[in-house]
Symmetry: C2
Subunit: 216 residues, 2 copies
């Protein structure tokens, strides 16, 4: 017995679409939002480093302030919960140490026993090959969170719209991210579609399997 | 009535972990693999451009060939299905046109009616601001697919292990990707955990909500 059936998974992925018009009166219930926030936190990341912070904006004033820096897209102000996915810039030894400390705490093992793991992260992301593009590496991790979030939302019947069309430097300014070592990389609106979103009934467009899948 | 309950979503995200030891005798049933492949295809992408190709490798010889270029990780050869996520390099007007043609076909609208959409993609990803880092943009899209895939697999009770620890240039060579305009960016092993994977029972380590979530 599978936790979720094949039919349900495909049905919900088919149901989701990039919602252009949200119903501004329909808010995500607190219990459901808690689940989605928890789903975000559970996103897998390389080394488990979680190089991110999720800014959840429900304040209408702040959203009105961000909308002009988002190609004026109405989803910013009309959705229920608006998420700005940010990376932690320039992952440093302090961040790695925080993960080690947290691992030691959660798994109740001495930090010394996971020293090799720490050294592996330091010698890759902080001082090694990935350090040259640590921010881009972090941005990619954030997109795992975006993918996970949209899929979990679809499973719960919550609509989303991923948004790359925004001005990251303006967001960083409005949200005061820079001095916290954060940078906005992508956004996602979540809520419920308006009854009259003309995009909702359109067929989903995907290339044929033979054009995007190769089997070896 | 939600399609999937909150409890099931969180239970399955809690159940999943980066599987270190797969049961090599336990293959994903054909019907389930079809669902997962379909889930991959349904992944959302910016503009719907799907700048990717998914290489699904079940051939043991090819997997043995790739394993040394994957830090010798046993998941490469022991899992049921091994996926190499590749980007389509340097998205060009031809790719955009293929999406327009496909959209016209699927939605049964004349291509001329979606000309503004085409111009928008061209003036951003092909000739505009995103063209300067089109490959990195494509790589981020691929990570949405990775996130979506791992979450859908978890919903079906299928184990996965995302793999960034590999040598992309070697993969490109072994899989003959370069001359097809493709480049490997990340991998994912899928299948079922071995009964004795010592990582399976370990507690999942995540930072506390207050460290990765900010509410405004």
């Amino acid at each position: 017995m599978k936790p979720v059936s094949n039919v349900t998974v495909l049905q919900q992925l088919g149901w989701r679409y990039a919602t252009k018009k949200f119903d501004p009166t329909h808010k995500i219930a607190s219990e459901d939002w808690k689940t989605l926030e928890q789903a975000l936190l559970l996103t897998p990341s390389s080394y488990g480093l979680q190089p991110w912070k999720f800014i959840i904006i429900t304040d209408p004033a702040k959203r009105a302030e961000l909308r002009p820096f988002t190609w004026n897209q109405p989803q910013v102000t009309d959705c229920s919960h608006f998420i700005v996915f940010t990376i932690r810039k320039n992952i440093d030894p302090g961040h790695v140490q925080r993960l080690i400390d947290r691992t030691s705490e959660v798994r109740q093992v001495p930090a010394t026993s996971i020293e090799p793991y720490k050294q592996m992260m330091l010698s890759d992301v902080v001082h090694g090959p990935r350090s040259l593009h640590a921010n881009e590496w972090a941005a990619r991790q954030v997109y795992i969170a975006l993918g996970n979030f949209m899929t979990c939302a679809a499973m719960l019947g919550v609509d989303t719209c991923p948004i790359e069309g925004f001005e990251p430097p303006r967001y960083d300014q409005v949200l005061g991210l820079a001095h916290k070592g954060l940078a906005a990389v992508v956004c996602c609106a979540a809520g419920y579609r308006a009854d009259d979103d003309k995009y909702a009934p359109m067929s989903k467009v995907r290339f044929k399997a033979e054009d995007v899948v190769e089997r070896i």
